[in-house]
């Protein structure tokens, strides 16, 4: 299973690969990923790779990813070429009308891609007083809710609770459910 996680520096995308890794290791699988640190982290485009299984290289090749998790819709579009045919994406959208772009739809249809959009900023404005650092767990919840990965929600709940710092645990678990509920409610 190969994931690509994209967003902007400072959005907390590293936490999501941490959670995915924790779950995979718990299942006795090998995990391998690649992160971005340093200058590129400062608010710019950030791509993080994550692979579960027997691999040597931490990088996902364009056209090989099963799942794309995008914290920003523009970053999602820029990185859609990572998805393999039949791949799936969870994306946080702030301007959902872009999804109606004819070229974009043609591309997704031609490759049989499934895009699951969630208005993350709106949800966090409404429920979390605009604390957008919770995007990472929101997207993980959405991934389970939309049935995008084979990870059962119960396992996700467990991993998020275990890996969250004490002071964010309760809120993280709450936001995880918000993401899940967006697709299941």
């Amino acid at each position: 299973m190969q994931y690509v996680v994209v967003g902007l520096g400072g959005q907390g995308i590293l936490f999501s690969s941490k959670v995915l890794g924790h779950i995979a290791l718990g299942r006795g699988m090998h995990v391998l990923g690649s992160e971005v640190h340093g200058m590129a982290q400062r608010g710019g485009s950030v791509v993080s790779h994550f692979k579960v299984g027997n691999y040597l290289s931490p990088l996902v090749r364009s056209g090989d990813a099963d799942i794309l998790l995008a914290f920003d819709q523009n970053e999602a579009f820029r990185n859609l070429q990572f998805l393999k045919k039949g791949g799936q994406a969870v994306l946080n959208v702030h301007a959902p009308e872009a999804l109606d772009n004819a070229h974009l739809r043609r591309f997704c249809d031609s490759r049989n891609l499934r895009l699951c959009a969630i208005p993350g900023y709106d949800i966090l404005r409404e429920h979390m007083g605009g604390r957008f650092l919770f995007l990472n767990v929101l997207i993980l919840g959405a991934m389970c809710g939309a049935g995008v990965s084979d990870i059962p929600m119960e396992q996700m709940r467990h991993a998020v609770a275990e890996l969250s710092p004490e002071k964010f645990r309760e809120a993280n678990c709450r936001v995880l459910e918000l993401g899940y509920g967006h697709f299941t409610a």
Binding site: L8, G9, G10, S17, K18, G21, H22, L25, H30, V31, L32, G33, S34, E35, V36, H37, G38, M39, A40, Q41, R42, G43, G44, S45, F50, Y55, L56, S57, P58, L59, V60, R61, S62, G63, D64, N74, E75, F77, R78, L80, Q81, H94, A98, N101, H103, L104, R106, F107, S110, R111, Y121, R125, G130, F132
Partner: protein, 623 residues
């Protein structure tokens, strides 16, 4: 548990943590480093594992890489296993010491970890430190994965002690910032008592001694090359093709990992691999034998042709000499897929889909460049400097504040510390023409200590007129927030350090104009920089302004001043976008007005000072 090799569970580690784990497992007792991407996480992880495993390892941030290298080298003179860690350009700073220490007959094992940055992602060069190892005549290990990097550390220490010389481990960023499950071990190496045996012939690099040591160094290289030819099979080995090989590939570092995954994904059984984990000195016979058995051989290594250029006959090699492999840039999986397909004479993998390309164009989606964080004090300092000295030349330095380039406030950057020396050059260039040119240079607190001080002394001594703005945010921010001498805290909490006062150092260098301002206070900043430049030109000497405000990454509590753009007052001039360049100030192309994007705003309130039309206003309670 000392002296016992045990096996523990697997844990997910960052490549840099895996290297650190190896360093502690190998019994390193003195570790020194200067942070720099992609190496920065190694040293803190050494401290963490040392504490977990109960070693007494001294772990310290040094003021620069030369200092780190020399501190670690001398610990090895005294018989300890030691380690210096830096990024590739840091080795340039430490090069003087490296070249010299290579000739020494060390007592303890000395590992130099140098992290390269192909791409580059966060550096001013794409240099290959394996070439530096070759230049210094020291052996170099090139890991393909995080786990292999950890394994190489112990072997590198043994080799260092066997030949009494420094050994380099050269991970690239993809190994440093890989995250993978790694098997943890206990400490394998026994403690070595500190014992410095005085021996002038051994420890003093007089020319007479060098004449004796250089042939000895050459002999060590021959012996190590021979060892790499015949052993070290864990790191340098062949992966034969299952059928007759159509192509041979020699690969080093993460390129080996990428090409292995690629061949597996393609299901190819007609490509043979030779993995080189020991590129310097190159086991030439191994490569020549591989070349002899294959019609065509592709050579994949990052970033310079270090293996390639050690070969005597390259006629069969598809590499950089004949353009088969690009001479610059990172060898990403897509790039390697193209190179391998071309070498096999097969169709190239598909490029970006035309409909996706059209969608990106229509939706105006572009990669977002790095920017200073919302609320970053540097942004305010740059704004004040421009207002005070609008016709200046603005040399700058390496750090977050290089991103001041987005505010048109960074005109030239060379390397660490050069913000203090470039003004001297600019000053002299104009002065010989009889002209006066305002110059305001910017440097961060950590960079000032790193290499800024000699340039400042030089400017005072030679009487060069310019303003040096030291942007003191009490942290080494770009690399993830390490403490530095200005802060006084050491790497380990509870390990007492002492703060070195920047203003005191500046005065000690002979600067008479030294003023400190709160970076968020733009009006005062403007006045003080104006005054500083007046002083500098009048007295013909450098003047220093210290802009202080903690880095946003420190998440200090500060007053929240939510703001909005008054849509009536905004004239759509984009002044705030162009000269303040905050991620939270954006431009609505339809309305032709600026607006505050709540996804990014941290309510620092600084931008209220920025709008020439007073359109950026606080949000009142009732709104």
């Amino acid at each position: 548990m000392r002296g016992v090799v045990g096996v523990r569970k697997r844990e997910i580690l960052l490549g840099n943590e895996a290297i650190a784990r190896g360093v502690v497992e190998a019994g390193c007792e003195v570790a020194s480093a200067y942070p720099g991407t992609p190496s920065s996480e190694i040293l803190p992880a050494i401290a963490r594992f040392a504490d977990e495993l109960g070693t007494k390892t001294a772990v310290e941030w040094a003021v620069n890489e030369k200092v780190a290298f020399e501190v670690a080298a001398a610990a090895a003179f005294a018989g300890k296993r030691s380690c210096a860690v830096m990024k590739q350009v840091g080795l340039n700073v430490a090069a003087d010491a490296l070249m010299s220490v290579a000739y020494f007959e060390l007592a303890g094992g000395f590992l130099v970890v140098v992290a390269d940055d192909p791409g580059p992602h966060s550096s001013q060069t794409e240099q290959d430190s394996r070439a530096f190892a070759h230049f210094a005549k020291i052996p170099c290990f090139d890991p393909a994965t995080a786990e292999e990097a950890r394994d190489m550390v112990a072997v590198a220490y043994d080799l260092s002690e066997k030949y009494h010389m420094p050994v380099m481990l050269r991970p690239t960023g993809r190994v440093d910032h890989a995250r993978q499950d790694v098997e943890l071990r206990e400490i394998a190496a026994p403690e070595r008592p500190a014992r410095f045996t005085k021996d002038v012939r051994r420890w003093v690099c007089l020319p007479a001694h060098v004449r004796l040591n250089h042939p000895q160094l050459n002999a060590k290289n021959d012996a190590i090359r021979e060892e790499f030819e015949t052993s070290f099979d864990a790191f340098t080995y062949e992966v034969p093709a299952k059928e007759k090989a159509k192509l041979g590939i020699v690969a080093s570092g993460v390129s080996f990992a990428i090409v292995s995954d690629l061949l597996a994904a393609w299901g190819r059984t007609d490509v043979a691999l030779l993995k080189i984990g020991t590129p310097v000195p190159l086991p030439v016979r191994r490569v020549e034998s591989f070349l002899a058995r294959h019609e065509k051989v592709l050579l994949l290594e990052e970033t310079y042709p270090v293996i390639e250029e050690q070969l005597r006959d390259r006629t069969k090699v598809l590499g950089r000499w004949n353009g088969a492999v690009p001479r610059e840039g990172e060898l990403l999986p897509e790039v390697i897929a193209g190179i391998v397909a071309r070498a096999l004479g097969e169709p190239l993998p598909e490029a970006v889909d035309p409909s996706l390309k059209a969608a990106l164009e229509e939706l105006q989606v572009k990669p977002r460049p790095p920017m200073l964080c919302p609320g970053c004090p540097h942004r305010a300092s740059f704004f004040a400097i421009r207002k005070a000295v609008p016709n200046g030349i603005y040399p700058s330095d390496i750090g977050c504040y290089t991103l001041g380039v987005n505010q048109k406030m960074v005109d030239s950057v060379i390397c660490m510390g050069a913000s203090v020396t470039q003004p001297s050059g600019f000053h002299l260039a104009y002065r010989v023409d009889g002209k006066e040119q305002p110059i305001v240079a910017t440097i961060g607190d950590s960079t000032f200590f790193h290499m800024g001080i000699p340039g400042l002394v030089n400017a005072v001594y030679n009487r060069h007129a310019f303003v040096l703005a030291i942007l003191d945010n009490s942290i080494t921010a770009m690399t993830g927030g390490q403490p530095n001498p200005a802060v006084g805290e050491k790497l380990r909490k509870g390990d007492p350090g002492r703060a070195v006062d920047i203003a005191g150092v500046v005065r000690g260098c002979g600067v008479s104009f030294v003023r400190t301002v709160e970076a968020y206070d733009i009006p005062t900043g403007i006045d003080v920089v104006k005054e500083a430049w007046e002083h500098a030109r009048r007295e013909k000497e450098p003047a220093v302004v210290l802009f202080r405000h903690p880095c946003m990454l420190l998440r200090c509590e500060q007053a929240k001043v939510p703001v909005r753009v008054d849509q009536e007052k905004c004239v759509g001039c984009r002044f705030c976008i162009n000269f303040f360049n905050c991620p939270a100030l954006r431009f609505d192309e339809e309305k032709k007005k600026a607006f505050v994007d709540d996804r990014f705003c941290v309510a620092c309130g600084v931008c209220r000072e920025v709008c020439p039309h007073g359109a950026i206003v606080p949000i009142r309670e009732e709104e």
